[in-house]
Symmetry: C2
Subunit: 228 residues, 2 copies
DNA sequence: CCAAAAGTGTTCACCGTACACCCATGA
DNA sequence: TCATGGGTGTACGGTGAACACTTTTGG
């Protein structure tokens, strides 16, 4: 029940508000999304986006970050508001407005997220073969993917998928997965280096039997810079 | 009071949900925004964005369109969701989540919008000299303006400001106002015509003492096309 | 010495930009 | 005939795309 205060309160029924998060990462050279299997009705046993109800004294961004942490153990990652979904019958229980976010997780971050109490299971699913999803979560994912790909063109958002140090080949692989096409190695390196956004660590990555690759890092990790 | 149903309802306090709309147009070669003067507390007498509370069985888009129509008499215009603002203390009455939209109104559309019952006044204000605004509406406008300008680059959104028939000079004027810089006439015409999005009506606009200008119209008004 | 990934320059086509003059009309 | 906005083409530079071979390492 809403806590009555002395101040005016809008006297009509209020909808519930949730945040839901589309968590992207690159695993095994595939774009993947983190889903939780619902432990409770509605849609019990179906896969869904991590998310949950907004606390009455909690900022929206904080709610998204909290739900992500509670349901998957992930925190400290890039998180941006996506869109707000509010079709009248998207939740069978009651009217629910979902403020959706998307998150980008570096490749190396905890490979096996932990499941929370209200989730029967948590796991990464390749974007190309997602299971059936609860509610309108398939629509949310579609919009998040569209936004992600669009942002590759005019931002440096792809760096959010990279661990602290990485090689240019690894970065190129991320772009190729996201754009779903192969890129020319020389043009790619020229373009990335011309941004003057990353620098060599000075070390080499010996990753097997072949020629070692130079390691790079982002110069100013705090800023998420926008090109131009 | 929320109508209790037989179905489960999340047993914690729900926030109120509103939609607010940033209405842009071009008037007298200036980018302008439609504001309403609040008739009731809080922020009584201050200027604010048109908007209001979401009905429990109403889609978000419908709510934005309805509030716009009720408070200003404007309907049938381009309307797109912008962002959702939900800082905990943005409304002194209670917790309010605002799903914001922006609308683009053609130049010729009703110059003097009518004021609704809960507004003391309605009027257009040049973007460059806005009054102090209620709540966090200045932030909302800032974000809407940023989005609008960004979209000029990769969409044909500017056509939403044009009446059914218009001249290339008028269109160029709109771009100049939005970008806040003058453009080369020949390059502008070349670029616009190469989109193959508009066609001549065949008529001439005699608008005074000088050479008449050719009139154009959008070929397929239904579609809001994205370049590329 | 062989396999496999790392690393490196040049050429060309296209597009955005800069730039100046004549035309049609009403007064 | 003059003032005013309408209408038109070319030349240049920069950027993105295509393209193949050498280097370094481990086995």
């Amino acid at each position: 029940m809403r806590a009555p205060k002395e101040t005016f309160s809008y006297p009509y029924p209020h909808p519930a508000v949730t945040t839901d998060v589309v968590v992207f990462t690159i695993r095994d050279e595939r774009l993947s999304i983190l889903l939780v299997k619902r432990a409770n009705p509605p849609h019990q046993g179906e896969w869904a986006l991590p998310g949950g109800f907004l606390a009455i004294d909690e900022d929206l961004d904080a709610c998204a970050a909290r739900e992500l942490r509670e349901e998957t153990g992930i925190s400290g990652v890039y998180l941006e508001q996506l869109y707000t979904f509010g079709a009248t019958h998207r939740d069978p229980r009651e009217r629910v407005i979902s403020v959706t976010y998307y998150a980008l997780v570096p490749q190396d971050a905890l490979a096996t997220p932990r499941a929370a109490s209200d989730a029967a299971d948590v796991g990464w699913h390749p974007f190309e073969k997602l299971p059936d999803l609860a509610f309108d979560h398939a629509d949310i994912i579609a919009m998040a993917h569209q936004r992600l790909v669009a942002k590759l063109d005019y931002s440096t958002i792809a760096f959010q998928f990279m661990p602290e140090v990485f090689t240019l080949s690894e970065l190129q692989c991320v772009y190729e997965v996201l754009l779903n096409q192969s890129l020319d190695k020389r043009n790619f390196r020229k373009r990335i280096l011309s941004l003057e956004l990353i620098e060599e660590t000075g070390k080499l990555r010996r990753s097997g039997k072949h020629r070692p690759a130079r390691e790079y890092r982002v110069k100013h990790p705090k800023r998420v810079e926008i090109i131009k």
